[in-house]
């Protein structure tokens, strides 16, 4: 029974905080992008426009929800909900501090990977059920991109597992706190694996900056073309939530999670997450898009073998006695 | 020691085996040059393994066995298969792999003009043959030997029929196959008899002399087939339809010697079987003489060599019959080398002249000096010229036969030694030293791939004789050469034969008048005619009778049953809808019925 209580007591605040951070992140992104583009960004709603995301949500809630006549109705309605749910679900196993973790599973890494593999399904569902060609092309791109990038993601997630000798996220952080952050040492499997993991976990869910399935200059709005109102909002939100949580997971796996001097763990964790989060937007607002096939080639030709090599390198490192 | 004998033997066995399998399966690979490279590499690695094995066996070691049980029947293996490594198998392995390597290298040049797929096929067969031969050589018991024996027969069939578009080649292949298969029945029955008498397929099982006689006699039937002993020798000359390197490898050096090897391997049995050995001595001597006479008048260079092979195999059998294990095997070895050399030399000549016929050749000594030199070495070795390999082994045989006193068999063997020298002399003169003909005038020396194996083989053809001691060691018997009366006599006969041929054929292509009637008789192939007659008189009427019974009695019954099946089949075939789910349904129904039955019971 204590499990139920624990889930409730930690789950609710975590979800709330994640949502809030996401909203703040949205605001931050708009400000940040505006700065990059020599604009000011939102200024009207609240101080420095900080309540703009809230205004957006209210707007979306009010909008009329349309379901195209020729769509597959059930799947069409279901897709955004599942998408949002899966995006939040990953947060369950992330240790935000030594104690703040909703469910400290001993196969946490596997759970993260599995949920990531699932995100593809609602995305595809949304695209396919719209019965819209742009959405369908977006869905096919989403499938291809997710499946491709899930391979290097899984493999690079193996690196910390091997180094720490455990699949529990908490254990991995604890190990890093006792030794060193994996992104720093052993640098050779660590740092590239970090970059690989982070990028491919974004790419896998077709998230920024790998949002080719939604590339609006080509596909209008990709899979969300037919979505209106809050259902579109859910897709949109899920994207940001996912980005936040992917940042959190990456900082747990490679950047020592809550480990850091002077400040309590939670602060460090939030700081690292936000830094990664900001770096994504930095990339996003300054780079052009790859073509989908170029991304795919990049993944299969280089990232997959590279991640395999990293895994073997990590195993060798452990075997020769590094990190005890 | 680089590696354990077992792993060496495994290498020797598996390298060509793997290549054969790979080439058999991977058609794209087979259709390219890679087939040749792979095959030759496999043969060479086998050779290296064999050399190392022999080196290891030179110090006295107990036989190494690696066996796995086969065909378990209630926990008891029906037989075992595996490897047996001792002096005999190691030395035989060396001979086989050495000749095979030489022949494969030779084939690279010889088969050069064939299309790549055809070459690939050829080399695949070669690898297969080497595998089969190694299975045979390394066999720990008669059953596996039989396995290898049959496989070798199959590859022989494939290689004889290599030019399958040529009717004569196809016919020859079938003939060889059936004759040897017929003989192999003996081996099979012998095997079963052995098993029933001793409960195993091992040749060193305890057995009564009587049973040994029976078994060995049956085995010897197979040997007669494989080693082309009279009267089952008829397939060997026809087998010359295959490519010449094939003749060199299979039908001169290794496969036909498998029969001899069987006797050597089964010596514990044959040693007990005195009557069989007496039969062997007689038959071997007769074959030696008969084949030698037939070789006299052949105009096809390969047929001369083929009959000569028959004759030499007769020698070996006679030696074994006389009880000289070492003699038989020693001659097998030397013969393998010089006969392979001769065949390859003949191949080189045929390659240059584009004809098999002796009458088209002549004057090649100038044009093909290397071929000539090596060929002459081989021929003189075969003729038993003192100092060359053939002399020592032949001497050992004659000594062994003559050990029990002067006998008819010794005379036959001596005469055939004389004849051997005579026809080889004729061959040499006709091919190399006679005036050039139209065809041979355009001939020129062959390329490196053809000459390299000739050179390689010429060395043992020259020198194997001096390694008798080594072979003795491998066989666990002492060997000391001493020149006895018989040896001098044989050598003298050899020289005489050469001289006579020089006198008779120096200036003329035709046979001298003196020999003409004999020549006519033999040219028409008395044995073939005998077989043909037998075939017409006996087999055909019998076949007709069987055919009648078949057509009117059996067929009638069969047709009736067939009709019944067709009718019912047309009804039943509705079940076969071709729809997978229907089959699943039927399966489930069946399973359920079975379950029900189980529950009810």
């Amino acid at each position: 029974m204590s499990g139920l209580l624990h889930g409730l007591l930690y789950g609710l605040p975590i979800i709330t905080v994640v949502l809030t951070v996401t909203a703040l992140g949205l605001w931050f992104e708009r400000k940040f992008a505006a700065r990059i583009q020599s604009r000011k960004g939102p200024t009207m709603v609240g101080p420095a426009g900080i309540l703009q995301p809230l205004a957006d949500v209210v707007k979306m809630l009010q909008k009329e929800q349309l379901t195209p006549a020729s769509a597959d109705r059930v799947l069409f309605e279901l897709a955004p909900i599942l998408c949002g749910a899966f995006a939040v679900a990953t947060a369950a196993v992330v240790p935000f501090s030594p104690t703040v973790v909703a469910a400290d599973l001993d196969i946490g890494v596997l759970y993260v990977l599995a949920v990531n593999a699932l995100v593809l399904i609602p995305v595809w569902m949304g695209g396919w059920s719209s019965n819209n060609k742009f959405a369908l092309i977006g869905a096919m791109r989403a499938v291809a991109q997710s499946v491709s990038y899930s391979v290097p993601m899984v493999l690079s997630a193996l690196v910390p597992v091997i180094l720490a000798g455990s699949m529990s996220l908490s254990d991995i952080v604890r190990y890093q706190a006792e030794h060193h952050w994996f992104a720093l040492w052993p640098t050779i499997p660590g740092l590239p694996a970090f970059v690989l993991f982070f990028l491919s976990s974004l790419a896998e869910a077709n998230r920024i900056p790998f949002d080719i399935p939604e590339a609006e200059s080509e596909l209008i709005a990709g899979i969300t073309t037919e979505y209106t109102g809050m259902k579109f909002g859910l897709f949109y939100m899920a994207e940001y939530i996912h980005t936040v949580i992917a940042s959190a997971v990456a900082s747990v796996l490679f950047l020592g999670g809550w480990d850091g001097p002077f400040y309590p763990g939670l602060h460090w964790m939030v700081l690292k997450t936000l830094l990664l989060f900001a770096s994504i937007y930095w990339v996003r607002w300054s780079l052009l898009r790859f073509r989908s096939d170029q991304l795919m080639t990049l993944c299969w030709k280089w990232l997959v073998p590279a991640s395999l090599l990293l895994v073997m390198a990590a195993a060798l490192f452990v075997k020769v006695g590094g990190g005890h | 020691m680089l590696a354990s004998p077992v792993s060496l033997a495994l290498t020797a066995l598996l390298a060509p085996g793997a290549v054969a399998l790979l080439l058999a399966v991977a058609t794209p690979l087979r259709n390219r040059k890679s087939a040749i490279v792979l095959s030759v590499l496999a043969a060479l690695s086998s050779l290296v393994a064999a050399i190392l094995l022999v080196k290891g066996q030179l110090t006295p070691t107990p036989p190494q066995l690696l066996t796995v049980p086969w065909l378990l029947q209630g926990g008891v293996p029906f037989a075992e298969i595996g490897l047996r490594i001792d002096g005999i198998s190691a030395s035989m392995l060396l001979v086989v792999t050495f000749v095979a390597s030489c022949v494969q290298i030779f084939s690279v040049g010889y088969m050069h003009d064939e299309s790549p797929p055809a070459q690939g096929r050829y080399f695949t067969y070669h690898s297969l043959f080497l595998t089969a031969m190694n299975i045979l050589v390394l066999a720990p018991n008669l059953l596996q030997l039989f396995l290898g024996w049959e496989l070798v027969g199959v590859t022989s069939y494939l290689l004889i029929g290599y030019y399958y578009r040529k009717p004569s080649a196809a016919k020859a292949a079938v003939k060889a196959f059936w004759v040897t298969k017929f003989a192999d029945m003996g081996l099979l029955i012998g095997l079963l008899v052995l098993r029933s008498k001793t409960g195993s397929f091992d040749w060193d099982a305890t057995i009564t002399p009587q049973a040994a006689n029976l078994v060995t006699l049956l085995l010897f039937v197979a040997v007669m087939g494989k080693s082309a002993q009279f009267p089952l020798h008829i397939w060997l000359p026809d087998a010359m339809e295959g490519p010449t390197p094939v003749s060199a490898l299979l039908h001169a050096a290794t496969m036909v010697a498998a029969g001899v090897f069987l006797i050597v391997r089964g010596w514990p049995l044959f040693e007990l079987a005195h009557s069989t050995r007496a039969f062997m001595l007689g038959l071997g001597s007769v074959t030696a003489l008969l084949a030698a006479t037939m070789a006299l008048f052949q105009n096809d260079i390969k047929k001369v060599l083929a009959y000569s092979t028959c004759s030499q195999l007769g020698y070996m059998i006679a030696a074994l019959g006389a009880g000289s294990l070492l003699g038989g095997f020693f001659h097998l070895t030397t013969h393998a080398f010089f006969k392979a050399l001769l065949f390859l030399g003949a191949g080189s000549v045929i390659h240059a002249v584009h004809s098999n016929d002796l009458r088209d050749m002549g004057g090649l000594a100038r044009k093909m000096p290397v071929t000539t030199l090596t060929f002459v070495i081989g021929a003189l070795s075969l003729a038993g010229l003192p100092g060359l390999a053939g002399f020592f082994s032949k001497d050992l045989i004659l000594e062994a036969v003559g050990e029990h006193g002067f006998s008819l068999w010794l005379v036959l063997l001596l005469v055939s030694a004389f004849l051997t020298a005579f026809y080889m002399g004729r061959l040499l003169l006709r091919v190399f030293f006679a005036p050039a003909t139209e065809k041979s005038s355009h001939a020129h020396e062959s390329g490196g791939f053809l000459l390299l194996p000739l050179g390689l083989l010429a060395v043992p053809a020259l020198a194997t004789g001096y390694f008798g001691g080594m072979f003795g060691q491998l066989y666990g018997t002492a060997y000391h050469f001493h020149l006895g009366n018989i040896g001098i006599l044989a050598a003298g006969l050899g020289v005489l034969g050469l001289l006579l041929s020089y006198v008779l054929y120096r200036h003329r292509a035709e046979h001298p008048a003196l020999l003409a009637p004999l020549g006519r008789l033999i040219e028409h192939g008395p044995m073939d005619r005998l077989y043909e007659g037998g075939f017409h008189r006996v087999a055909l009427p019998f076949a007709a009778l069987v055919g009648w019974i078949d057509r009117y009695l059996v067929d009638g019954v069969m047709n009736l049953t067939g009709l019944a099946f067709i009718v019912s089949g047309q009804k039943i075939r509705r079940i076969q809808t071709g729809i997978a789910t229907d089959y699943v349904l039927a399966t489930v129904g069946g399973v359920l019925a079975l379950l029900l039955y189980g529950v009810m019971r």
Binding site: - | T577, G578, I579, A580, T581, V584, V588
Partner: protein
């Protein structure tokens, strides 16, 4: 939750899969039903592993999952080939096999 209950659940799943296998016409439907049946067997493996306190069942289930995945891969490739040949993925059309 007892072993018996797990086995009954697995049996039910298996029979549903069998029903699907017998009734579906579309090749994809057949594959789906096969998946159900494979899943049923995996449940069995895990259940036995749980109630006997033995890791073997899990290892086997792991292998079984991997094998099922390859089965689906090949199965779908065949479906696609069938489709390529007949422009139709209904197994009934493939009854031309029998000719």
């Amino acid at each position: 939750m007892t072993l018996g209950l797990c086995l009954i659940l697995s049996a039910a799943l298996f029979c549903i899969g069998l029903y699907g296998l017998l009734t579906h016409r579309h090749a994809i439907g057949l594959l789906l039903s096969l998946e159900l049946m494979a899943n049923a067997t995996n449940i069995n493996l895990i259940a036995f592993s749980r109630f006997r306190g033995d890791s073997m069942g899990q290892v086997f289930a792991l292998f079984s999952i991997a094998l099922t995945v390859t089965e689906v891969v090949v199965g779908l490739a065949i479906v696609i080939l069938l489709h390529r040949a007949y422009r139709d993925a209904r197994v009934g059309r493939a009854s031309e096999f029998r000719h």
